[in-house]
Amino acid sequence: MSDLEQFRAETRAWLAENCPEEMRDGDITAENQCWGGRQWEFQSDAQKRWFEAALAKGYTVPTWPKEYGGAGLSADEAKILTEERDRINARKPLSNFGISMLGPALLAFGTHEQKLMHLGAIARGEIRWCQGYSEPGAGSDLASLKTKCEDKGDHWLINGQKIWTSNADISDWIFCLVRTDFDAPKHKGITFILMDMASEGISVKPIILISGHSPFCETFFDDVKVPKAYGDDNLSVVGEVNRGWDVAKNLLVHERGMLGTMSPLRGATGPENLGGYAAGEIGVDATGRLDDPSLRQKIAQAEIDDWAYNLTVERLNDEANAGNGLGAKSSMLKYAASELTKKGSQLRMDIGGTDAATIGPDGIEYGSLANTWLYNRAYSILGGTTEVQLNIISKRVLELPSA
């Protein structure tokens, strides 16, 4: 038996023993994940047991080095772990922007002390992170951001506003892009900074969307003092001052990679098999075909795209692990996933007809088809619009000329 076969056998046995039955429902909606953080309360005993078992093994962040709370798995081993977890339909033990976005950026740009302080806390689910990137005047043109960060000797002084900060109202820390030099060209005066959300001067206001509910917030900084160092040399700045754009770009690749792995057609809510669901709702004709030929064709096409998409995530990951970095190709995944996500919820609304268009006495119900459909409009906007992704693919992957 090869080492990897051995690892698979061990992983299978470990999962069988440690992943509670209740966590094997394949439920990967945002609501059912364990997010961790100071305010986190486990939704069930099973969720707690699953989290603790994974934590003890380093499996909340399996590929991170052991000294930072991971299990130090190789890419091949991590893939086997994911496959085995998917095989039994298990939920992730812990989800967090700290794991999917900040962690990889810290691993690439952080100091050893920064990594020790933050990565371990992320791995243990102690700190929930949110991302402060967009501003009211800096959306797709992110580098034109204006949140001001002044050097005050032993601390930084921050004034300004962020928008679309997902879950800012329930997060503990924020990683943020701020402007430290207003005279430099716009990409050269940005710094990547870490702040405790409990700091004096930070306030948060949720944003109501057409869907009625959303994780998005506005975040305001009013004379916020950020110490330059937490403890001995746990710096608040990641990478160099004024060179935050490098960190941000690296992180965006991970964000797009993550946004691009959300199994788009199945989406946040909805059945495994869209066609089967449609057949149940609409009925079939005498030959067993869905009683709406045009919808049937659209669903089949979308399922083919979804399948090819998921394989592409797998293939590009395999290529990245073999040494060909994902780079700007993450924009392809982000683009395809967000369009497919929208298509999936549109199809579900079409299948549901007028039933899906109803709302409850208190408005659009959270988690309803209509809620998801409306919320999913945002997928091709957040994390860089579809148009921005297409620009990136044109310029960075295809190397087409600039205007």
Partner: protein, 379 residues
């Protein structure tokens, strides 16, 4: 298993790329076309390909093959798609070899696989009886006669049927015209007097044949697989064919796209490179994304054929559907983005457009496969 090529497969890819660019570029295909070569391909080239082990790419070593499996066949087909290489590779080395190796008797394997590998015998699969692919609809009759059968009926669009030495014919031994059970495969000599072949040149300048069979007597030795149980074998052969056609179309998509992006980088209008126009950039970026999706779909289907052949059918359908849609888009866009030059015969992109159309029709277009997958998923 990783969704990437192994080192060995990559070496095969490099070798194929080098050889075809040198010996069978699009110019060579034009020569075959313009000289009205009656075979539709160059026999010397085919011999060289056989010498390199390509003709027996999926055949086991004990029968003289190079045993590279379906991933290997796909690697070659992708490069052939890039270069628009015409050869009997698909009909003989993919369809014929799959049929004999997987479903043939020991005697049939002994008799045919060696001559597939050395390129001396050409095969063709006769399945469709109308212009649209409907493999379960078989009227071609095999009626009991003495100890065997008598074959009578007609087939259309038999790729390379005009040059084949051997024909694999799907015939009906029982049941009515749309019944998947009751189909039997026969492996017969294409030069039999009872077989009339009409050469049908296709729009892609490749060749197929319509065949008519009138009372061809066959024995049990000519049966490939099970009597009345041939549909399963047919499905297997078609699955392999669909995945490899997918690989070929993926190669054509990539090449047509690459020609197009080169053009976008160099052609100027309104005082600028046209590749700087966002209207074209976004379409190119979309197409690049579709091409990535297609590569994954095709590779997965080929890997499954090698790993677990019996379970690959649906995946091969998906790969054929995805690659067909992408290839159509890629070649349509190639013409459109080139403007006027794109519709000239002199320029290559139109040749890709034509080839892809025929490959789409062969063994089911995207609509056919979407329907098939929907039915399979219960809707």
């Amino acid at each position: 298993m990783s969704l990437i090529l192994t080192e060995e497969q990559e070496m095969l890819q490099d070798a194929a790329n080098g050889f075809l660019a040198e010996n069978a570029p699009v110019a060579a295909f034009r020569e075959v076309r313009d000289s009205k070569n009656p075979d539709g391909f160059c026999r010397d080239l085919w011999k060289e390909m056989a010498n390199m082990g390509w003709a027996g790419i999926i055949v086991e070593e004990e029968f003289g093959g190079s045993e590279f499996g379906y991933v290997g066949a796909g690697v070659l087909a992708e490069q052939m798609g890039r270069n628009l290489t015409a050869s009997p590779f698909f009909s003989t080395s993919v369809l014929g070899a799959t049929a004999v190796q997987r479903y043939g008797t020991a005697k049939q394997k002994e008799q045919h696989l060696g001559s597939i590998c050395d390129g001396s015998t050409l095969f063709a699969l006769a399945v469709d009886e109308g212009p649209r692919h409907r493999p379960e609809h078989i009227e071609f009759a095999a009626t009991p006669h003495g100890n065997g059968y008598k074959l009578s009926g007609a087939k259309t669009f038999v790729a390379d049927g005009h040059v084949a030495d051997k024909l694999i014919i799907a015939a009906r031994t029982s049941g009515d015209a749309n019944d998947p059970s009751g189909i039997t495969l026969f492996l017969v000599d294409a030069n039999a007097a009872e077989i009339e072949r009409t050469h049908t040149p296709m729009i892609d300048s490749r060749s197929a044949a319509n065949i008519k069979v009138d009372g061809l007597e066959v024995t049990g030795d000519d049966i490939l697989g099970e009597v009345d149980g041939g549909y399963e074998a047919l499905e297997g052969i078609l699955s392999a064919g669909r995945a490899v056609l997918g690989a070929e179309m993926s190669g054509s998509s990539q090449q047509a796209f690459s020609i197009t992006t080169d053009y976008l980088k160099e052609r100027e209008q309104f005082g600028q490179k046209i590749g700087s126009f966002q209207g074209l950039q976004h379409r190119a970026a979309h197409l690049a994304t579709e091409i990535e999706m297609t590569k994954s779909a095709v590779l997965k289907s080929l890997q499954l054929l090698d790993d677990d052949f019996e379970s690959a059918s649906a995946t091969c359908s998906m790969a054929k559907a995805k690659s067909g849609m992408t290839a159509q888009l890629s070649t349509q866009e190639a013409i459109q983005m080139h403007g006027g030059i794109g519709v000239t015969d002199e320029y290559d992109v139109g040749l890709y457009f034509k080839r892809v159309h025929v490959a789409q029709q062969m063994f089911g277009d995207a609509g056919f496969h979407a329907d098939r997958l929907a039915k399979r998923s219960g809707y």
